[in-house]
């Protein structure tokens, strides 16, 4: 099953490599991983998208908790949460495609953030599946490059991950 693990980790050199190393050493899956400092610069918040059986997930969370630098951890998928991913996609925008691209971006509530004579860069935010759908809706030949941040998420309401 797909799980989103959110964790707070000491913002120290090598913290990311400890987490990434754990996943490779124990043959766990990482679909995406995002990390950045929080409002408290001594802490980083990491969001890991992974999948596995319940047993595997139990081990993943226990092993992550065991890392000395990990302060707190939550499996967001266990309860209501919101998740978002950001994508920048550069597309060819010439001739009749130029108008079509604008229209598609509007339909998906994307924003065109860079315009040249031949290209657009479209910014799109949403659930990962929405980003997938956008890519699927475009003519593949017109996509020049895509870059995605990976999922980040937060629990709903009173579910708060904080020290």
């Amino acid at each position: 099953m797909r799980h989103i693990i959110s964790l707070l980790i000491e913002n120290e050199a090598g913290a990311l490599s400890r987490v990434a190393g754990l996943f490779s050493a124990r043959a766990y899956n990482i679909e995406s991983l995002t990390v950045a400092p929080t409002e408290d610069p001594s802490l980083s918040r990491m969001t890991i998208l992974t999948w596995g059986s319940d047993d595997v997930l139990e081990q993943i969370t226990k092993q992550l908790n065991k890392l000395v630098d990990v302060v707190k951890l939550v499996d967001l998928s266990e309860a209501p949460h919101v998740e978002r991913e950001l994508m920048l996609i550069k597309v060819r925008a010439t001739g009749k495609d130029r108008e079509e691209m604008k229209r598609m971006a509007d339909i998906f509530r994307g924003r065109i953030i860079d315009v040249t004579e031949t290209t657009y860069v479209i910014e799109l935010t949403g659930a990962s599946s929405k980003l997938d759908s956008f890519i699927a809706a475009l003519d593949g030949g017109l996509i020049l490059e895509t870059v995605r941040t990976g999922v980040c998420g937060v629990g709903r309401g009173d579910r708060i991950l904080k020290v």
Binding site: I9, A13, G14, S17, R18, Q59, K62, D69, V71
Partner: protein
């Protein structure tokens, strides 16, 4: 103001460290200079960094103190890796101080530079790179704190050379608080009550204990609990000595080379009380086969990730083994009334025991089991036994009956050949004057044989019991049984003359070739040569195999017994 190097020494003094195992080099020159100028800490110069770490590891294992190793950057660290990984797999508390190239050289591919934090990361409990001298003392404090609390393990502190030269006021924190690290000690009382309830209902129980009992110094509490319950007890390889092996309730070691009664009792038990053990592959064999019996499992472990990792647990108790056992004993203070069917279970166990699965035939050639039995007799069962890895290790575990904890020092998790001699060194430094024997083979001993030189320098009277079959015995055994006797590269051709070799290092050498000479030679070594290192080269029957045996991937009850071949 004192230098970073002096701070390192002062921190060790604060931690009451009386000896450090190490090897000097460019990046640790300042630290070695500071060592030279003090008198509290003894430095043990080894001949290879791997041995320094193994010795520090055994110093911890054989006492309740922390072993410390000191190595230089680059090759010093890479040589130390095997030792660090060995300690990590067996949860041995240890601090390894490593020199590093100066901070402004890091990343420049400098001479003797190596990414210490990177290469050690998968095999340490935690590691640090100290980039500023003002962080040095607090980092070393954290290292000792992390190494010794929770599930213990090795911690590496990487110290660049310039940091050891900088001057600062010394301020050693009395205690340390880390928001990210707060290991659980006390077990959950509700869970402990549930566990006691399950124990009361048990008809075919077994107490299965591992290294956690030794590490938390809980052997005495475990023994009291086991006697109170009247249940059979089995130990893992790492748990030997956690319960007196000469006691009637002890059914022997379990696992791949466990006794017939221990493996059967474990498999057919309706309640397993697992204490500081982790159901690893060498213990339960095939997890699918093991899961074929219905049973309830109570698991006490300080590491939550060890619980329900390989075997589903019904009553998990996260906590320090000694504290949890204390709570259990308190709850059972009013006495314990076992299920009447327990008597039938014991009858069954005695039937299994009557198979006498630990047997061998001693005729013309010396059998390795015979040597261990004689070693047990001659040392009165009270020696520290270190071992290397292979057949000799299993023979020692099976035939030397450990009644006390911390007397059996071996590499169970990583299975590191070469640990035996440096383990014996560390054991002697932690227990001066103790009787220490290193049970080894002609394969393993050659992996750290250079340490005979260290033993000479520090007058360490290790008794090396070399069970010499001229073969890499355990691999040969597998080749015999599972590879149609294709003995691929397991014959160790051109072995040295170990007697002459021991003499060349300045020690006493003996070669023993006849069964009738075994006991007199051992007596001579342990009395007449009490204060000497004696290398005893026992020329043993090369066909001897370790039985019982559960082949890899087989179930715990699918044992091959000696008489079946």
């Amino acid at each position: 103001m004192i230098s970073g190097a002096e701070i390192v020494i002062r921190c060790l003094q604060e931690e009451k460290i009386d000896c450090v195992f190490g090897y000097p080099g460019g990046s640790v020159l300042h630290i070695y200079d500071a060592l030279f100028k003090q008198g509290d800490i003894k430095h043990i110069l080894v001949r290879h960094e791997q041995a320094a770490v193994h010795a520090a590891d055994a110093y911890s294992r054989s006492s309740q103190r922390v072993g410390v190793a000191l190595v230089t950057s680059g090759p010093g660290v890479t040589n130390a890796i095997t030792g660090i990984a060995t300690a990590y797999m067996d949860s041995s508390p240890m601090v390894v101080l490593c020199g590093q190239v100066p901070t402004n050289y890091i990343g420049q591919d400098a001479f003797q530079e190596c990414d210490t934090v990177g290469v050690t990361r998968p095999c340490v409990k935690h590691n640090f790179l100290v980039k500023d001298v003002k962080d040095l003392a607090v980092t070393i404090k954290k290292a000792f704190h992390i190494a010794t609390t929770g599930r213990p393990g090795p911690v590496v502190v990487d110290i660049p050379k310039d940091v050891t030269a900088q001057m600062i006021e010394f301020d050693y924190p009395k205690s340390i608080q880390m928001r990210s690290y707060n290991p659980v000690v006390k077990g959950h009382l509700g869970q402990i009550k549930r566990a006691v309830q399950v124990l009361q209902e048990a008809k075919r129980p077994i107490i299965y204990t591992g290294g956690g009992v030794i590490l938390s110094n809980a052997a005495e509490k475990l023994t009291r609990l086991a006697r109170l319950l009247g249940f059979p007890v089995t130990n893992t390889l790492m748990g030997l000595g956690g319960y007196p092996a000469s006691d009637r309730q002890f059914v022997g070691m379990l696992g791949m080379h466990g006794t017939f009664e221990a493996n059967n009792a474990m498999h057919y038990a309706d309640v397993i009380l697992a204490v500081g053990a982790r159901f690893d592959d060498r213990v339960i064999g095939s997890p699918e086969h093991f899961a074929s019996e219905k049973r309830r499992v109570i698991h006490i472990d300080i590491d939550p990730s060890s619980i329900s990792k390989r075997v589903k647990v019904d009553v998990p108790i996260v906590g320090n083994v000694a504290d949890v056992l204390d709570e259990m004993l308190k709850l059972l203070d009013g006495g314990f009334k076992a299920d009447p069917e327990l008597a039938d279970w014991w009858t069954q166990i005695e039937t299994w025991r009557a198979r006498k699965s630990l047997t061998y035939r001693q005729d013309q050639r010396i059998m390795p089991q015979f040597v261990i039995e004689k070693l047990y007799e001659v040392t009165g069962g009270d020696a520290f036994i270190t071992s290397d890895v292979g057949q000799h290790q299993m023979f020692a575990a099976q035939y030397y009956k450990f009644d006390k904890p911390r007397r059996w020092i071996n590499s169970g998790g990583l299975g590191t050949m070469g640990v035996g001699l440096p383990f014996a060194m560390g054991t002697l430094f932690a227990n001066p004057g103790a009787t220490v024997a290193c049970v080894t083979g002609e394969g393993s001993i050659q992996m750290c044989i250079q340490e005979m030189s260290t033993c000479k320098q520090f007058a360490l009277p290790v008794k090396i019991i070399n069970l010499n079959n001229g073969m890499l015995g355990m691999v040969r055994q597998w080749q015999e049984m599972f590879y149609s006797k294709r003995y691929s590269h397991t014959y160790v051709a051109s072995l040295p003359d170990f007697v002459k070799l021991a003499e060349a290092y300045g020690h006493v050498g003996m070669r023993i070739e006849k069964p009738e000479d075994v006991e007199p030679a051992l007596r001579k070594a342990f009395t007449e040569h009490k204060d000497d290192l004696v290398f005893m080269d026992f020329i043993i029957d090369p066909t001897a195999n370790v039985f019982p045996m559960v082949a890899a991937g087989k179930g715990l009850t699918e044992m091959i017994l000696a008489e079946e071949l």
